[in-house]
Symmetry: C2
């Protein structure tokens, strides 16, 4: 991997890398914030998965997360949201399909399957890469995300019990098989068999018997996508039926923007930092 940017921030370094990803079969860009502690020791990592239209840049510029990562001594890993490039399938007129909208699945359908293997990329290839190249403790990681990335965080954790010390989500897409965004991407990437979609749906994974784990979730009541796309109540209902410890906090008047993320990311990172005590 090649470092393409290094910016000093809160005593640590915000670094950006590019590498040829095997899973996604293309050059991928990601950012890592290494806190000051990483200059002398290995540190645990929190992965932040971003939402539709984002690259690795949005969260590092807008969320204010590096301040907390610096204070807590945790690395912050910020992947892109899809494969990228001129030869990567895309729907350039859509924000919710193709590049910027990888949905953290392994696509099975042409033309998407050639590059859209974001689930493998985020859960396997990227951790292996950074744990071998950067001062990050192998295997000691947690995961969170926003919107499509909140969905991604929940699914990555639910499908890999034990792989993450903790998981949380901000305004996640909780039941993608039941919302427009999910239906669009899952039908393209995974085909018409809706049963196959359930393997990448947090609500359906819980219904199907996923191993219980704590799921702290923050959701704004003023979120413009709450009614049509996010469906946290479906996740909560599924969780209750399976004695699943879901803590859904409805945050009055907050919207879907990074101002909402900025407000609550500190609590999420503190939660993960504690779960990641060495």
């Amino acid at each position: 991997m090649k470092q393409i940017e290094a910016i000093k921030e809160f005593g640590g370094w915000l670094r950006r890398y590019q590498h040829n990803a095997i899973s996604c079969n293309c050059a991928m860009t990601f950012s890592v914030y290494l806190p000051p502690q990483a200059q002398t020791q290995q540190v645990p990592a929190v992965y932040f998965l971003s939402g539709l239209t984002c690259t690795d840049d949005n969260v590092r510029v807008k969320a204010g997360a590096q301040r907390y990562a610096s204070e807590l001594g945790r690395a912050l890993v910020m992947p892109d949201t899809s494969p990228r490039g001129n030869d990567v399938a895309d729907e350039p007129d859509r924000y919710d399909l193709g590049q910027g909208a990888g949905f953290y699945v392994n696509a099975t359908q042409a033309p998407w399957s050639r590059h859209y293997q974001m689930y493998d990329y985020v859960t396997k290839e990227l951790p292996a890469l950074i744990e071998s190249e950067l001062p990050i403790i192998p295997g000691l990681k947690s995961i969170t995300g926003h919107s499509m990335g909140g969905h991604g965080a929940l699914v990555c954790a639910l499908k890999n019990p034990g792989a993450y010390r903790s998981v949380s989500a901000l305004a996640p897409i909780c039941h993608p098989v039941q919302c427009g965004w999910g239906e669009t991407c899952f039908s393209a990437y995974l085909g018409n068999d809706r049963d196959a979609w359930k393997d990448y749906d947090a609500t359906e994974l819980i219904k199907a018997g996923a191993q219980p784990m704590n799921l702290p979730i923050d959701q704004g009541t003023g979120d413009e996508f709450l009614d049509d796309q996010l469906h946290p109540q479906n996740l909560q209902t599924a969780g209750k039926a399976k004695d699943f410890p879901i803590t859904l906090r409805m945050q009055r008047d907050y919207d879907h923007s990074y101002h909402f993320i900025a407000t609550f990311i500190g609590e999420h990172l503190a939660y993960h930092a504690q779960a990641l005590e060495v």
Copy 2:
């Protein structure tokens, strides 16, 4: 004035307004973050003046300042960096002259003088407006800024002793009459008489006998504009000759970006919050 946006953040509200500015003779947009305390009482205000190319939006999205304003119970006032509009003079191919580059002066030269009255706007019209319309304590204010906005903050405070409880700056343009950015804008806005420029130059104002005040300044040593444009050492030299309490902190490896601002804005806001104790 008309509210055009309201976003909940850190328990308070980030609000954006538009109004017909008399000084700038056009519609102006600005943002104000009102902390939770402003729901029940009037609060003091810290003005943040932004740098070249910015609108009111950059700082509110990228600086992470609202978190501190919320904790400290201070309003944050974020003006635009120039007049705007199709009938406002501009150099659309330049980032460092015209719209986005008002330099916080009152222009005297055509075609700029018709709208480019940012000094009056920031020091008089905007404070009067928000102090009459919002829960902000009249006259209790401090000022800071970044780059061109750091220059603006220093000049506004130096030219108005007593008007601001405190002033600080992040990577300010300290000696604009001696740098390319300043020469470009001052010759356009103020004409060829270089003596007239000195009235909007912090270093020259100190040399000319401005009333001493504390000037805490942070400057990154990795700032790509440090050598050619910013000249903090000129300000420091002028300050020493006049027993002016300038605290210039050279921050190792930091650049000119919002990642630098985000790192240090908390200390600046804490400093201003203390100076603004009611």
